[in-house]
Amino acid sequence: AQSVTQLDSHVSVSEGTPVLLRCNYSSSYSPSLFWYVQHPNKGLQLLLKYTSAATLVKGINGFEAEFKKSETSFHLTKPSAHMSDAAEYFCVVSSNTGRRALTFGSGTRLQVQP
C-alpha cells in the first residue's frame, strides 16, 4: 500500500521569496515520486519526477525536489516565487511494482502575494 501526505493545504508567499511545499510518502516498495501543478481550468502538468536516480531532481520553471528516504519526504522548493506560480500542487507516488495507478496527495494551494 502507498500513501502521500501533503502537510499544508494552503501556502502563501510574497513574490521573490522562497517556496517550500511539503510532502511525505509511505510505500512498501521503492517508489517513484512526482509533483504535478494545476493552474485554473488547465490539466495537471508534470513539474518533475524522481525514479531512483539522483535524489535532487530539477523540474520546470525553476522548481526542484529532494528525495530523502530516511525522512520519507519529497519536498518541493523554488528559490524565488513568481506570480505565475500561483496554482494547486499535487505530490504523487507510484509503486514501481508494474502497477501504473498513481496515488495523489490532497494538494497544496500556493498563493503568491505581490
Binding site: 504535478y36 490539466g43 508534470l46 519526477k49 507510484s94 501504473r100 495507478a101 498513481l102 494538494g107
Partner: protein, 116 residues
C-alpha cells in the same frame, strides 16, 4: 506541444441517466487512464487501459463504469446510471507506455460532472 483534450468541460445530468465522458489522448500514447476528484477530496485512480482492454482498475470502478476506445483517437468513460455521489471532476490521462510503469502520465483539463 501535444495535449490530452476532454469534452465536455462541464456535464450536468439527472440521477439515473447515462453519461459518456470523452477524451482524446496524445496520438502516439498506448496507455490511457481515468481519474476522478470529488470536491474537497483527493484525486483517485479509476482505471487504466492498454491494448484495447482494462489493465488495472480500482474498487471505485464497479459495474456502473465502462471504458472504450471506439476509434483510433477517442477514449471514453461511460457511467450507466449516474448517482449523486458520481458528481466529481473526471480527468483523463495518457502515457507512452514504453519501459517501466513510471513513464509520465499526461493529464487533460478534466470534465466536471454534476448529477442532480
Amino acid at each position: 506541444e501535444p495535449e490530452v483534450t476532454q469534452t465536455p468541460s462541464h456535464q450536468v445530468t439527472q440521477m439515473g441517466q447515462e453519461v459518456i465522458l470523452r477524451c482524446v489522448p496524445i496520438s502516439n500514447h498506448l496507455y490511457f487512464y481515468w481519474y476522478r476528484q470529488i470536491l474537497g477530496q483527493k484525486v483517485e485512480f479509476l482505471v487504466s487501459f492498454y491494448n484495447n482492454e482494462i489493465s488495472e482498475k480500482s474498487e471505485i470502478f464497479d459495474d456502473q463504469f465502462s471504458v472504450e476506445r471506439p476509434d483510433g483517437s477517442n477514449f471514453t468513460l461511460k457511467i450507466r446510471s449516474t448517482k449523486l455521489e458520481d458528481s466529481a471532476m473526471y480527468f483523463c490521462a495518457s502515457s507512452v507506455g514504453a519501459g517501466d510503469s513510471t513513464d509520465t502520465q499526461y493529464f487533460g483539463p478534466g470534465t466536471r460532472l454534476t448529477v442532480l
